[in-house]
């Protein structure tokens, strides 16, 4: 009986298993192999040992620039995005009428934002003579186009991400609705202010959801590509200021044809994301509160 059932399970799983093996596992293993070679798309790969990895860490200033840019981007974009999502979710949670409409309206940017076209519109808005430049100039702040200045360009990429706070917002909303009403009623009876309730009830009760969002958005932020690619015209400029990790990886792979080096970079990114996620999980022990565990 069980074997027959298992057989049926494998039949139904077979499309997925095939897909996972052929389209994900196999390419990953091949890229692991290529990361130890000098593969350049044109000639057969030669084994070079850890040269790619050594070169990355010791003699490639652009690699470190891309790491720095990505770290800066994660540190700016993730907290801002989560803060925006949380504030809007809190506001929406207390809205009585038209909640569905507002929820959709705030979610809409997330549907559009990942696309190339929005990134191009974003570039036009923050360009010399674009909307942002014109509006700021009209109030006497002549900063010029943000995308053409090394100090500002990465910020425009981060802002594009922050604007797409829809997904974490919806998850926050769901989390907020799970918090038992009695807690607030009891707090109100004890004379706790709204602010006090937020700090002592909402945030602790929401911390598992906050943690979930933090992990998810951090992983995504490390892999940011489309907005940086579109806003810098694929070059990571001006002066490498928007050269994020995946953009540099793409540059090595497809512009410079150093596939082996790019494969090595991909594996370093995978390990780095794994480490950061592990750190987040470790830190969660001290700040995430699970109500059911405590009881």
């Amino acid at each position: 009986m069980t074997t027959r059932r298992q057989g049926a399970a494998w039949v139904f799983l077979s499309p997925w298993v095939l897909g996972a093996v052929v389209l994900t596992l196999l390419p990953m293993l091949i890229s692991l192999y290529l990361s130890f070679t000098d593969y350049d798309l044109f000639d057969a790969p030669n084994w070079v040992g850890i040269r790619n990895y050594a070169q990355m860490f010791t003699e490639d200033p652009r690699f470190w620039r891309s790491v720095g840019n990505t770290a800066l981007y994660v540190v700016i974009a993730v907290p801002l995005q989560l803060a925006a999502a949380l504030v809007v979710a809190l506001a929406l949670n207390s809205v009585k009428r038209g909640k569905g409409f507002y929820r959709s309206a705030f979610y809409a940017p997330s549907l559009l934002g990942a696309s190339m076209s929005i990134a191009l519109v974003w570039r036009a808005m923050f360009n010399d003579g674009g909307t942002v430049d014109s509006v700021l100039s009209s109030v006497g702040l002549d900063l010029g186009g943000w995308v053409n200045q090394p100090g500002w360009a990465l910020l425009t990429v981060a802002l594009l991400t922050v604007w797409q706070f829809g997904a974490p917002m919806v998850i926050f909303l769901a989390g907020l609705q799970q918090i038992p009403r009695e807690l607030y009623e009891a707090a109100a009876v004890d004379g706790a202010s709204r602010w006090r309730q937020l700090l002592s009830i909402t945030l602790p009760m929401l911390s598992p959801v906050l943690f979930f969002n933090l992990v998810l958005q951090t992983i995504q932020a490390f892999q940011v590509f489309t907005p940086a690619f579109a806003i810098s015209g694929g070059k990571g400029g001006p002066a490498d200021s928007t050269l994020v990790y995946t953009l540099y990886l793409y540059d090595r792979a497809f512009t410079a044809s150093h596939m082996g080096y790019a494969s090595a970079m991909a594996w370093v990114l995978l390990v780095a994301i794994g480490l950061v996620t592990a750190l987040l999980f470790r830190s969660s022990r001290s700040w995430v509160f699970y109500a059911d565990k405590g009881a």
Binding site: R4, G7, A8, W10, V11, S14, P15, L18, V22, D38, D40, L41, F42, D43, E59, D128, G144, G145, N148, Q149, P150, G233, G234, K235, G237, P238, A239, D240, F254, T255, A256, S257, H258
Partner: protein, 423 residues
């Protein structure tokens, strides 16, 4: 019984999926009874129309050969072609850039065209033909002839009281004119030339030097620092475009300072400059590039693009016939006109020339004026140079945004260049 059914259905499922995969990987087969060639190239709509017309004419004279074309703009084309070549699936006939030749030839992707009698080369300029050779093997042939030129808005130029540019103008003569134009118009006199390896090469050649010499870099950090220092002085004076403007250069004319209305001239390529007509107006003119301090021109006749045949093509003879038709047939020459630059075949060029009007006329006249005065073009840049163009612009960004001194950035560039060329 049921057990058996499960096994059978499992096998059936696997087979279905496998069939799908095999079919997807199969690719297009030739049309039965005839020869099907694949021809890829980069360009715009105008070039596409001319090319399709020429291919229709080819099919009339060569029944039994069909040609499937595909085209896109340059950057995506470059990446797609590299991926195809890596998969052993390069098109039969492919358009190539000067900077791709070493890479493709060195990797055995291209056929030796000298061994294909179908492709006649006797009416082509030998110096230009050599740009498609590597180690004596003709991997590709030039499709058209182009050269560097400075495009400028002649109305604003005259209004500013600057003299008409002359073929004898040195870099400093140009700088003086740029200052004058900038002071009178409030716009930059020119795009800052420091962003591009192409203009640096003209500057170097004017001094009797070169970018490459037998595969390695042939100039010193001091040469490059001197050029960038010269640009920096002009940039600080406002005679050439600011860092913010220059950093937007990406190969598209509408993103140049001149295309955006912030500068009055732009170092460019002769055929490409015709695009300024729609951005600036009919007052656009082209002038030869500045000459070196002792009057030596640094610019050269360059293959605007080359064309080659895949070494794996099952139909090398037909592929060579197609190229021969596109480059040597007078009828095709008439249809293609100067959509890729001035024709390389002397006979076709002479035939097309009288019919040229407007900007095409200016391009032809500019080239005529330069004939006999220019040093031969350098051999194809070494493998790795493809990447160095963007490295050059990036390093100059560091200079123009005042994050590095010209000498620091020049050393940075040479370090990276050495690493790229070694690989």
């Amino acid at each position: 019984m049921r057990r058996k059914w499960t096994t059978v259905s499992a096998l059936a499922c696997c087979l279905t999926v496998l069939c799908g995969l095999v079919a997807a990987c199969g690719g297009a087969e030739g049309v039965s009874g005839g020869v099907a060639l694949r021809f890829s190239w980069w360009g715009n709509e105008g070039r596409a129309k001319a090319t399709e017309k020429a291919i229709a004419a080819f099919r009339r004279t060569h029944p039994g050969i069909t040609v499937q074309t595909s085209f896109s703009s340059y950057e995506p084309y470059k990446q797609k072609l590299a991926t195809q070549a890596a998969g052993g699936d390069a098109p039969d006939v492919m358009q190539l850039d000067y900077r791709q030749i070493s890479q493709y030839a060195g990797s055995g992707i291209l056929l030796d065209l000298a061994k294909r009698p179908e492709l006649r080369r006797d009416q082509m300029d030998p110096a230009l033909l050599r740009t498609g050779q590597l180690g004596g093997v003709q991997y590709a042939v030039p499709m058209a002839r182009g050269t560097q030129a400075i495009a400028y808005d002649s109305t604003l130029w005259a209004k500013a009281g600057a003299a008409e540019p002359a073929a004898t103008w040195t870099w400093d003569d140009w700088a003086a004119a740029w200052r004058k134009v900038a002071a009178a118009t409030g716009k930059a006199g020119s795009t800052d030339p420091g962003y591009s390896e192409d203009w640096f090469e003209v500057w170097l050649r004017g001094k009797g030097k070169a970018l490459y010499d037998g595969g390695g870099i042939a100039f010193t950090d001091e040469d490059l620092a001197e050029f960038w220092q010269w640009c920096t002085t002009l940039r600080r004076e406002g005679a050439v475009s600011s860092a913010r403007q220059t950093t937007q250069m990406d190969g598209a004319l509408d993103n140049t300072p001149m295309g955006r209305g912030n500068a009055v001239s732009d170092p460019s390529w002769d055929a490409a400059s015709s695009g300024y007509k729609s951005l600036v107006g009919d007052s656009v003119r082209i002038a030869p590039m500045p000459v070196g301090p002792d009057g030596k021109p640094g610019q050269y006749f360059k293959p605007a693009m080359l064309i080659g045949v895949s070494a794996r093509s099952p139909h090398p003879a037909e592929a060579a016939m197609l190229i021969d038709f596109l480059l040597n047939d007078p009828g095709a020459g008439e249809v293609l006109g100067v959509s890729r630059g001035i024709p390389v075949n002397d006979g076709v060029r002479a035939k097309v020339d009288p019919g040229l009007k407007g900007f095409d006329r200016r391009i032809a006249d500019l080239q005529k004026g330069l004939e006999g005065r220019l040093a031969p073009p350098p051999p194809a840049p070494p493998k790795g140079d493809n990447t160095l163009q963007s490295t050059f612009q990036r390093d100059y960004d560091q200079v123009s945004f005042e994050r590095m001194s010209p000498l620091e950035a020049a050393r940075d560039y040479l370090t990276e260049a050495a690493a790229e060329l070694k690989q």
